[in-house]
């Protein structure tokens, strides 16, 4: 892939994630998707930029706002949608839903709905690679809200102490539900926290996929080479409510409008690629059509799915082996 093709692919992935999320919002209104739904709209550049720096055998751990991460990691979009429809064709047979997408074949390890709860798992995946002398990297995505959790600190320390191959990718979208960062951290420069553990840290514009990808492309190979963990703060913004229940009382409407109009990661890359002569209107339209078509296909796949049968309720609690009587 040429560099130009690569960047067009980044754009396409962002368009696809955006289209997928917007469709999810519609399906939620129609009550086809239920439970909690946390959309990634506005933050696409983070997952897209970081993931593009990974190898297929690297591992990813994410949060409940993880559709984008799953999709760009290559989890089948139809299986993701079918999951949210509660179908047996879902990537987790309907048991996980929006917040708990998994695909071991893509080394995508969730989908964790406890804030900071995925971090120890990432540490463990990396510890396994370290013990087996595998040169794989594990990326843990988490929101800036997680930084206040004790677990975050325990994990940074463990990773640094044991020189584990982990990239801590903080998606600083400035709010944890309704809590602005300055109301949850005494020091809002998150890279300083990493420094307290001797971990190399970068802060990048998380709306600029090129910048995110550049930073990740610096960090990941170093981690792979044995330099120990790194910390990447991506400054971003969520364009939508925290979840579908949120009346957004905590931030001014015009702040959202400003971010949407001035800092949209898709607009930014589109304009840049146009300016660089890599993208024209026709090819942009083609990319959008392709993204929409992929979402249509995912929805069609899910629509055609079969609800996971009630008879399977007690399956997958324990492995079916060993003749154990649970």
């Amino acid at each position: 892939m040429t560099d130009d093709e690569f960047r067009l692919e980044l754009l396409h992935r962002m368009l696809f994630v955006r289209a997928f999320e917007e469709r999810c919002a519609e399906l939620y209104q129609q009550a086809r998707i239920r439970g909690f739904l946390h959309l990634y709209t506005g933050e696409e550049a983070v997952a897209v930029g970081v993931s593009a720096a990974l190898r297929d055998d690297d591992a990813v751990v994410a949060t409940y706002r993880e559709h984008g991460h799953a999709l760009v990691r290559g989890v089948d979009p139809g299986a993701v949608m079918a999951e949210m429809f509660g179908c047996q064709e879902g990537c987790c047979r309907g048991r996980g839903g929006s917040m708990h997408l998994f695909d071991v074949s893509r080394r995508f390890f969730g989908g964790n709905a406890i804030v900071a709860g995925g971090l120890p798992i990432a540490i463990g995946l990396a510890l396994a690679d370290h013990l087996r002398h595998d040169d794989r990297v594990t990326v843990a995505f988490f929101g800036e809200g997680a930084v206040a959790e004790g677990e975050f600190h325990e994990c940074l320390n463990l990773a640094a102490l044991w020189k584990l191959p982990v990239l801590f990718c903080c998606e600083n979208n400035q709010y944890a539900m309704g809590t602005a960062l300055a109301r949850s951290e005494s020091v809002t420069d998150l890279a300083l926290k990493a420094a307290g553990y001797g971990i190399t840290a970068w802060a990048v514009d998380g709306m600029d996929v090129d910048a995110v990808h550049r930073a990740a492309s610096t960090a990941v190979p170093a981690i792979r080479a044995g330099a120990g963990p790194a910390f990447l703060e991506c400054r971003t913004y969520r364009f939508r409510a925290h979840s579908m229940y949120d009346p957004e009382l905590y931030r001014p409407k015009d702040e959202v409008v400003r971010w949407r109009t001035e800092h949209d990661p898709i607009d930014l890359l589109t304009r840049r690629l146009q300016a660089e002569g890599i993208l024209d209107d026709a090819s942009e339209a083609a990319l959008r059509t392709k993204a929409d078509a992929a979402v249509d296909a995912a929805v069609a796949f899910a629509e055609a799915g079969t609800p996971e049968p009630v008879e399977t309720l007690t399956e997958h609690v324990y492995a079916p082996t060993l003749g154990g009587r649970p």
Partner: protein, 317 residues
């Protein structure tokens, strides 16, 4: 609940509310909407995501004589604060030989039924009821949502209030006009044939089952436990002495649920009164699945309650 919180804050300077997004966000279920504006950020205190620290801070503030109401957004996150709850809140009075009290109220949402999947659907109130030093309340009616809180705040010991997420939508005005006792079970429907014991989010299901059963000529007595610790065993025994049959309905996983404790106590206290073994309707022993059909199948339901009642009526001593 909002009214209860407002009255508590207005009525006692020592009371303050603390938790994630209780202020600017208005509370996860809009429970504390408007309170920030009324009482200010010192007394309606948003916290960072630090469950252990802010629950422990509530303990310390209570030790110092304040009356904190700490909100843990949902029971699912309370595990992060469990060390503080079990090793500090529940033990300090005892360890200090009675010198220290922890007059703390901890509120949290509990329960399943909204397709929130395995990490967001726990029903651990019965589990917390295992711990000496704590009190565990489970309001199920508008009156209890409104009037248990002031009694809990008056209590010199830590009180945990578990509010079932499915009940926030309950319509209706409180009929009680003052603080309600928190140590007694309530008979929500008198009946002759079978005692059905439940609490919290399962109460509406049991009352619905009672209607269906009544139409079939089966008259069940419905007891709302209200408090899981202490457990008002006397009210249960009194009822079973009349009906001779009992079913316990709760949303915890069956093994080790509060229904096991109730079954054991009824056996201990009314063995020779019972015409059938105490039956349990609990949640299937699976992490709660997301898909609606699976979640529905996992949880207690009106149909399962009816079936259990019919079953205990079939057995005869």
């Amino acid at each position: 609940m909002r009214e209860a919180l407002r009255a508590a804050l207005a009525g006692d300077e020592r009371v303050f509310l603390m938790g994630e997004d209780v202020g600017a966000y208005g509370g996860c279920f809009a429970v504390s909407k408007g309170l920030l504006a009324e009482f200010g950020p010192e007394r309606v205190r948003d916290t960072p995501l630090s469950e252990s620290a802010f629950v422990g801070a509530g303990i310390g503030a209570a030790m110092a004589g304040l009356r904190p109401i700490v909100e843990i957004m949902t029971v699912n996150f309370s595990l992060l604060a469990l060390d503080q709850i079990l090793n500090n809140a529940a033990t300090l009075r005892h360890m200090s030989g009675g010198q220290i009290g922890v007059p703390l109220v901890i509120r949290m949402t509990t329960g399943a039924g909204r397709q929130l999947a395995a990490q967001h659907s726990h029903s651990l109130e019965g589990w917390y009821a295992h711990i000496p030093g704590l009190k565990v309340l489970t309001p199920a009616t508008v009156d209890d949502f409104r009037w248990m809180l002031p009694t809990a705040l008056d209590d010199p010991d830590p009180v945990l209030i578990f509010e079932h997420g499915g009940l926030y939508g309950t319509e209706g005005e409180a009929t009680a006009v003052g603080p309600l006792p928190i140590h007694t079970a309530a008979v929500r429907r008198a009946g002759r044939d079978v005692t059905v014991i439940t609490y919290g989010g399962s109460l509406p299901k049991v009352l619905d089952a009672a209607e269906v059963l009544a139409a079939r000529g089966v008259d069940i007595e419905v007891i709302d436990l209200r408090s899981l610790r202490p457990l008002d065993t006397a009210t249960l025994l009194e009822s079973v002495a009349r009906t001779h049959r009992a079913v316990v309905v709760d949303e915890g996983w069956r093994t080790g649920s509060i229904s096991a404790e109730i079954s054991a106590r009824l056996t201990e206290g009314a063995f020779f009164e019972l015409d059938a073994p105490v039956a349990r309707v609990c949640t299937a022993e699976v992490p709660i699945p997301y898909a609606k059909q699976l979640e529905d199948a996992a949880l207690p339901s009106v149909d399962k309650v009816i079936a259990a009642v019919e079953e205990v009526r079939r057995v005869d001593a």
